[in-house]
C-alpha cells in the first residue's frame, strides 16, 4: 500500500473504533472512504469542492468535542484554506488533524497549481502545530494513530515519494543511520533514500527524521557536536524551512548550516517528480555535489 492507501485504511479503522473521531473531505479520496461513510454518515462528511468550508467545518466539529481529521490535496488544504487553519483551530483554542496528499511536486504534470512546497513553512507560522513528514508508508499508520489519539493539532504530510524502508516511529527523535566526522546530514521524510545514495563514501553522519515540529534539537546538538557543528538539512519542501530550528538548537555554539530542498522558483514545467528533482538539485548526484562542497577541508 502507498501512503494514501495506508491513510484510508488507518482512518477507516479509527472511525470504527473511536466515536470521538470525524473525517471531513472535499471530494478528494471520497470514493475510497465511501465504506466508512456508509457506516458513519454523521462522522464522515464530504462538503464538496469547498476547501474553506472543509477546514471551517473541521474547526466547528472540534468545538463540540470531536476529534476532526480534514483531508485533501496539500495546496488546497494548506494554502487555499490557510486563514481557516489559522483562525478556526488555534485561535478558537481548538485542535485537529490535517492530512494532505500531493506533497511538493508529487503531481508534477499538473503544474504549479497542484504543487505545494510551501506547506510546511506556512503551517510553521502558527503556534503549537506538530508537523509529521513520513518517509515510508509503514510510518503512516503509527503516525496517524498517534496524531488522532492525541489532543493537539497535527499536520501529516503524505507523499507518493518514499524511501526503501521505514526508519522511524512516533517519538520524533532523530535516528542516526550512519556515523561520520565532518558533518551531520539530516534527511527529512522521503529524502532519505537520495541522501543515503548521495553520501556513500563521504565521512558524514546521516540522521533521519519524520518529525520536523517539534524538532529534535537535543538530538541534533549531540550529533552535531561530534562533527564540528556542521549541519546539512535536506528537506522535501522549501529549502531552509527548518533552518531556524537548527539555529535555535545550536544557539550557543558557532555552527554552519546548509539548507537543501525545493527552490523558490516557479518553473512552469510539467514532466515527472524525477524531472523536478533535477531542477531543484535534489538528485543523489546533485545532493552529493552540494554536500561535499560544504565540507571544510579536512
Amino acid at each position: 500500500m502507498d501512503m494514501r492507501e495506508t491513510f484510508v485504511a488507518g482512518t477507516t479503522a479509527i472511525l470504527d473504533d473511536d466515536p470521538r473521531t470525524a473525517l471531513v473531505l472535499a471530494d478528494i479520496s471520497a470514493a475510497a472512504f465511501e465504506p466508512a461513510r456508509e457506516r458513519h454518515p454523521d462522522r464522515v462528511l464530504n462538503v464538496g469542492i469547498r476547501e474553506s468550508l472543509l477546514v471551517g467545518v473541521a474547526g466547528g466539529l472540534a468545538q463540540t468535542g470531536l476529534r476532526p481529521i480534514a483531508h485533501t490535496y496539500a495546496p488546497f488544504l494548506v494554502e487555499r484554506a490557510f486563514e481557516q487553519i489559522k483562525l478556526d483551530f488555534g485561535n478558537q483554542d481548538g485542535n485537529g488533524v490535517l492530512v494532505s496528499v500531493g506533497a511538493s511536486y508529487d503531481n508534477a504534470q499538473a503544474g504549479r497549481s497542484h504543487h505545494a512546497p510551501g506547506d510546511v513553512a506556512l503551517i510553521d507560522t502558527l503556534p503549537g502545530w506538530e508537523i509529521r513528514v513520513p518517509g515510508h508508508p509503514d510510518e503512516v499508520g503509527p503516525l496517524l494513530r498517534h496524531a488522532v489519539g492525541g489532543d493537539g493539532s497535527v499536520y501529516l504530510r503524505l507523499s507518493t515519494r518514499s524511501n526503501d524502508t521505514a526508519h522511524a516511529g512516533t517519538d520524533g527523535r532523530l535516528v542516526p543511520l550512519r556515523t561520520g566526522h565532518r558533518a551531520v546530514v539530516v534527511a527529512v521524510g522521503p529524502m532519505l533514500s537520495a541522501v543515503l545514495a548521495a553520501t556513500v563514501g563521504l565521512d558524514v553522519t546521516v540522521a533521519y527524521t519524520n518529525t520536523v515540529r517539534p524538532f529534535d534539537g537535543a538530538g541534533l546538538r549531540e550529533l552535531a557536536g561530534a562533527v564540528g557543528d556542521t549541519v546539512i538539512l535536506v528537506e522535501p519542501y522549501l529549502a531552509g524551512t527548518s533552518a531556524r530550528v537548527v539555529d535555535d538548537a545550536l544557539l550557543d555554539r558557532p555552527h554552519r548550516t546548509l539548507s537543501l530542498g525545493v527552490r523558490r522558483v516557479d518553473l512552469h514545467r510539467f514532466g515527472t517528480p524525477a524531472d523536478h528533482d533535477v531542477a531543484h538539485g535534489l538528485t543523489p548526484d546533485a545532493l552529493r555535489h552540494a554536500i561535499a562542497g560544504f565540507l571544510l577541508p579536512g
Partner: protein
C-alpha cells in the same frame, strides 16, 4: 465566574451598559444594529445561561460579525455572563473585551471572530458535531451581517447546509444595507435557492424576531433576515 453579586439587567438597561464601553450617551444605529436581535436571542430563544456555558448540550450562538461588539458585550453583561466592571476597560491590553470577541478570554463567547466569513462555516461544523454526538435538541445560531455575506466562504456553507438539510442551524442576517454591491433579489433568495427556509422580519421588533427564531421548520436550515436602519 462570580456573577451572583450582580442582578440580571433588562433591555432598558442596555444603553447604560453601552455607555460604559463607548463613553457616549447617544448610540448611533450602526453601533447597535445587532442589539435587538442579540437581546431577543439571549432573553427568549437560546438555551444557555452563565451556568451552562460548558454544557455540551447547550444551544450555541456564534457571533460571526465580530466587529462592533459593544451590543454583544452589553447583552452578555446584562445576562450575567461576566462581571460588569469588564465593560469599563473595553479594549485595553489586559481586558477580556477586545474590539473583536475572543472565546478564550470571555465566558459565554462561543467563537473568536473578526475576520469575516468564518462563523457560518464554523457553525455548520458545530451543528454537525452536535448531531453526530446525539445532542439533537441543541440548536446552532450564527449571526452574520449583510456585508459579511460578500465573503465567499459563507456561500460554501450556505450551499452545503442547504443540500444536506442541516435543520439544526439557524442563521440571522442583520441587514443594514451595508454591502457595497447589495443583494439584488434579496438576501433570503440567496438562501432559498439552496433549500433554506427563510423569514424576513423587522430587526427591532422583538415579538417578530422571537417568532421567526423559534418556529420549528424541520428538514432544512433556516435563515432570518433581520432588517434594521440603513448604515449610511
Amino acid at each position: 465566574m462570580t456573577t451572583a453579586t450582580e442582578d440580571l439587567l433588562g433591555y432598558e438597561d442596555l444603553p447604560a451598559l453601552l455607555t460604559r464601553m463607548t463613553g457616549d450617551e447617544k448610540h448611533e444605529p450602526s453601533a447597535t444594529s445587532t442589539l435587538d436581535v442579540l437581546w431577543v436571542l439571549y432573553d427568549r430563544v437560546l438555551r444557555v445561561d452563565p451556568d451552562s456555558v460548558h454544557d455540551p448540550a447547550r444551544d450555541r450562538f456564534l457571533l460571526s460579525k465580530g466587529h462592533g461588539p459593544a451590543a454583544y458585550y452589553a447583552v452578555l453583561a446584562a445576562k450575567g455572563f461576566f462581571p460588569r466592571h469588564y465593560l469599563d476597560d473595553f479594549g485595553s491590553y489586559d481586558s477580556p473585551l477586545g474590539y473583536h470577541p475572543d472565546r478564550t478570554r470571555l465566558p459565554g463567547v462561543e467563537i473568536s471572530s473578526g475576520s469575516l466569513g468564518h462563523g457560518l462555516p464554523l457553525g455548520v461544523g458545530v451543528a454537525l458535531g452536535l448531531r453526530a454526538q446525539g445532542f439533537t435538541d441543541a440548536r446552532t445560531y450564527v449571526l452574520v451581517g449583510d456585508a459579511e455575506l460578500d465573503e465567499g466562504s459563507n456561500h460554501e456553507a450556505i450551499a452545503y447546509a442547504g443540500a444536506t438539510g442541516l435543520d439544526a442551524l439557524t442563521v440571522v442576517v442583520v441587514d443594514n444595507r451595508s454591502a457595497t454591491h447589495g443583494w439584488p433579489g434579496g438576501i433570503g433568495a440567496r438562501f432559498a435557492a439552496h433549500g433554506w427556509s427563510t423569514a424576513t422580519v423587522d430587526g427591532r421588533n422583538h415579538r417578530a424576531l422571537e417568532s421567526a427564531l423559534t418556529t420549528p421548520l424541520p428538514g432544512r436550515p433556516h435563515v432570518v433576515v433581520a432588517t434594521v436602519e440603513d448604515k449610511h
